[in-house]
């Protein structure tokens, strides 16, 4: 009896254990081995919104009052697919689809799709709104499936399109960031599938730890950029106008905080609509501001001047004899107007933009020192958080011919990216220290924590006194030279420099009638809040950068002063007098 009882108990226990094992194995296969498959299957049904749908973090612009505005987010809606094998009434189905998505598919194309009887799934309309999707779904047409869909959406459309970047399929079947910030921060923006719902059983079986602390939660998030939407809009508008007015090949601009490297606006033209890329030339998807190199011309002179001052080979009071033209290594270099100035001080090299003056400083510096300064300024990538950053072409500074140094001193013969250029010129506005330009300030993690990124890499290049002396000379450009002195703002010091460079002809020489115009400026001159770099490539029927970009620069300065309420740094009232100090027509 006892033995019989024991054997019964064992039998029952074995049955229980077997049942439990079978259930466990079944659960393992359903929830872990085929979990993703089932999740996808569920998500493809009408009301699901789980892990199978496209998911990705947002990219935010930051207004001046710290309000975040989406630059890239997700839109939700529906797609419509047909199953030709179960589609019965073609005309009724087409009429219903055309009623909610008139331009989605033509009648002929629909009939052609419906004729493919070997297929069970053909998408005929995408990006339907919630209302339209539900309306069509409510009709329950045989052979017509209405499925939940999510897609990348850029509320600003053209706004900062090249900086924000694109998401697309690569060689595989995964949507990922391909250009711009979408690519640079893909690991933070991409989502690995579990969304809000965690499968409790699967987590128990596979990774209990993740129920408490998830590595993904510490990595995935939304990114917060430093781009200010109104400043970006303004710069885009101004750059587009310049490009259209002078029929330039391309134009661009950057507005940056020289003390931190935060980029407030980054514009290149032509651009594209990020929500409608079907007809976009793939070349436009890149970002010329970090990928393309240019010979910038005379905006290089302030750097040459500061190098000379910093090295101690010149002082602001030093003079030199300007002969108008000189011959170096059998090559003739001249001032822009071919005229000689005689004995003149250093300041005039910047104010009158004298090529011979810059070349003279380069000679005074000597090749070794000149190379050291320019290699520090341009020899490395900026580390800006955009993909495919280009390298500068400064090979002339590795050769013994003095002509290479003389021309580099006024911005010809060496080619730099606009991002590198603004980083280098930013040193003049930041006490001689270069900062790292960047577009993203923080990552808002899924856990809710905001992780501020570290952009504190600083590169000292010049002494603060040398940078200030050059800033004084550049301020004189605005106060005395630009628009014949009418550009002067009595209550705000503004430092600027124009640059007009001849374009290379591709055969080792330069065109005599094709130019690259650039313009750099910062303000207030001695404690700058903004540095602005503008350029336009090959403008037609105009010779000098002061003509193409001067007005745009000054308009931007006035806009930024008003928009940010930048307090004046000069022209204060004396005593009780508050009468107007100056009037400019």
């Amino acid at each position: 009896m006892r033995a019989q009882f024991r054997s019964r108990i064992r039998l029952i226990l074995s049955l229980i254990v077997c049942a439990a094992v079978v259930i466990l194995i079944r659960l393992y296969f359903i929830q872990i081995v085929h979990g993703e498959e089932y999740a996808q299957k569920a998500d493809r049904q009408f009301s699901s919104g789980g892990s199978g749908l496209f998911d990705r973090g947002s990219i935010y612009l930051t207004r001046k009052d710290s309000t975040l505005i989406s630059a890239a987010t997700l839109a939700t809606g529906f797609l419509v697919a047909i199953n030709p094998q179960t589609l019965t009434d073609l005309e009724a189905a087409y009429a219903a689809i055309a009623a909610v998505a008139p331009s989605a598919i033509s009648h002929d194309a629909f009939l052609a799709a419906a004729a493919k009887k070997s297929r069970v799934y053909i998408e005929v309309a995408r990006h339907l709104s919630d209302e339209k999707g539900k309306e069509l779904s409510g009709r329950a047409i045989s052979g017509v499936q209405v499925l939940r869909e999510r897609w990348r959406y850029y509320p600003g459309a053209l706004l900062a399109a090249q900086s924000i970047g694109t998401v697309s399929y690569g060689s595989g079947d995964t949507l990922a960031g391909r250009t711009g910030l979408e690519a640079s921060y893909d690991s933070q923006l991409s989502r690995s599938g579990d969304a809000l719902y965690k499968n409790f059983f699967a987590e128990l079986f596979s990774n209990v730890g993740n129920l408490l602390v998830s590595a993904k939660d510490a990595r995935e998030g939304d990114i917060v950029t430093t781009i200010e939407p109104e400043v970006q809009t303004r710069l885009e508008n101004d750059i587009a106008k310049v490009n259209a007015r002078y029929s330039s090949r391309e134009s661009g601009g950057i507005i940056m905080d020289p003390a931190t490297g935060e980029i407030l606006a980054l514009v290149t033209y032509p651009t594209y609509d990020a929500n409608n890329r079907q007809t976009v030339d793939p070349v436009l998807l890149g970002n010329p501001l970090v990928e393309h190199v240019h010979e910038f011309g005379s905006i290089m002179k302030p750097l040459t001047m500061t190098a000379g001052l910093d090295a101690g080979v010149i002082t602001p009071e030093t003079t030199y004899t300007d002969t108008g033209c000189i011959t170096v290594n059998a090559a003739k270099i001249c001032n822009w107007d071919l005229k000689a100035r005689g004995v003149i001080p250093m300041k005039q090299i910047i104010v009158q933009s004298l090529n011979l003056g810059a070349a003279w400083i380069a000679t005074e510096l000597g090749q070794e020192k000149f190379r050291t300064y320019f290699t520090t300024l341009f020899g490395t990538k900026t580390g800006i958080d955009l993909p495919s950053e280009g390298r500068s072409l400064i090979g002339n500074l590795s050769k013994p011919q003095q002509i290479g140094y003389d021309t580099a001193a006024y911005g010809q013969g060496i080619a730099i990216t606009p991002a590198q250029m603004i980083r280098a010129l930013g040193a003049l506005a930041n006490g001689g220290v270069m900062v790292q330009p960047h577009l993203v300030s923080a990552i808002r993690l899924k856990s809710g924590i905001e992780r501020t990124l570290d952009w504190n890499q600083k590169t000292p290049v010049f002494s603060a006194s040398a940078a200030r002396a050059t800033a004084e000379m550049m301020t004189a450009v605005v106060d005395e030279k630009l628009e014949n002195g009418k550009a002067k703002i009595p209550t705000m010091s503004v430092a600027a420099k124009t640059g007009t460079a001849q374009l290379t002809d591709g055969h080792g020489g330069y065109y005599s009638d094709h130019y690259f115009h650039s313009f750099v400026g910062f303000f207030p001159s001695y404690n700058p809040r903004f540095i602005i770099l503008l350029y336009t490539n090959d403008p037609q029927n105009v010779m000098y950068a002061s003509d193409t970009l001067g007005t745009t620069f000054l308009d931007l300065v006035h806009f930024l002063i008003d928009y940010y309420a930048v307090p004046p740094d000069r022209g204060f009232a004396t005593g009780s007098s508050t009468s107007p100090q100056a009037t400019t027509p």
Binding site: I16, S48, S70, T76, P155, Q581
Partner: protein, 97 residues
């Protein structure tokens, strides 16, 4: 065990079947709870997404309005550029803050 079997009002087989039944019901109950939780989570998730889309539409309108204002050609709208700009000096920089 022999004594225990005699003391219990139910046979061991009945107890085991009872336990199995309770386990089965518990398992089904757990599945029901998890499924309900999943359905609710998905619903909430979708609701969050829908709200996000609605916010994106508002942001799109804001950005479009801003672009429209920036692009407005005031001279074409009949406004003339000012003949003069007058800069009124302040007592100090900090006075304006």
């Amino acid at each position: 065990m022999y004594n225990l079997a005699h003391r219990l009002p139910y046979s061991a087989t009945a107890v085991c079947f009872g336990a199995i039944a309770i386990l089965a019901v518990t398992y089904i109950g757990l599945i029901a709870v998890v499924m309900s939780y999943a359905a609710l989570t998905v619903e909430f998730s979708q609701s969050v997404r829908n709200n996000g889309t609605a916010v994106a539409v508002l942001e799109q309108q804001y950005l479009a309005t801003m672009a429209h204002i920036t692009k407005t050609d005031y001279s074409a709208a009949g406004y003339a550029a000012p003949r003069a700009k007058v800069f009124v000096p302040a007592k100090s920089a900090t006075a304006l803050r």
